[in-house]
Symmetry: C2
Subunit: 94 residues, 2 copies
């Protein structure tokens, strides 16, 4: 069984990123981002080059099954929101 990490990100100042958030994102097999454009800036800033996939309330019903299957298969998935802490991982995934 893999893992789903819910990772908080800065709400305004990129330097409010934590070391642990970077570590988790760099180790993830897949990063699910609410807004890939915003998160792209963050990930680039911290040289995080892992696979990123759009994941938000308008597309989650299409992708959640494949994401759950990845986790069941042992992959590590990290969920980030536009800014701050993702609010709805449990509703989305289980």
């Amino acid at each position: 069984m893999g893992k789903l990490y819910v990772v908080p990100t800065p709400v305004g100042n990129l330097e409010d990123m934590t070391f642990r958030a970077i570590k988790v994102l760099k180790e993830a097999d897949l990063i699910l981002a609410e807004d890939t454009r915003t998160s792209g800036i963050l990930l680039k800033h911290f040289e995080i080059k892992n696979a990123m996939q759009s994941h938000h309330k308008f597309n989650e019903h299409k992708t959640v099954e494949s994401v759950v299957n990845k986790i069941k298969a042992g992959e590590t998935v990290a969920l980030i929101s536009d800014a701050g802490t993702p609010e709805y991982p449990i509703r989305v995934f289980w």
Copy 2:
């Protein structure tokens, strides 16, 4: 006029430290720590070697005037608690 920074620190995992917190602490003329032993571990971990002074509710009445004078003289002071965000800087300082 100097500055007083209220700096949150990790509550359990040192890797939850932010880049901005490290930057502010490294630039401070004086770090006021609620518990110098606990904070010593944190500061050592991040190679922060700035002056640190004990500052808590049992000694603040003795030291607050000198701290305020330092800030008035243009120094930068950073306040950290044992863990998390310091709760009472305003009561202490003004």
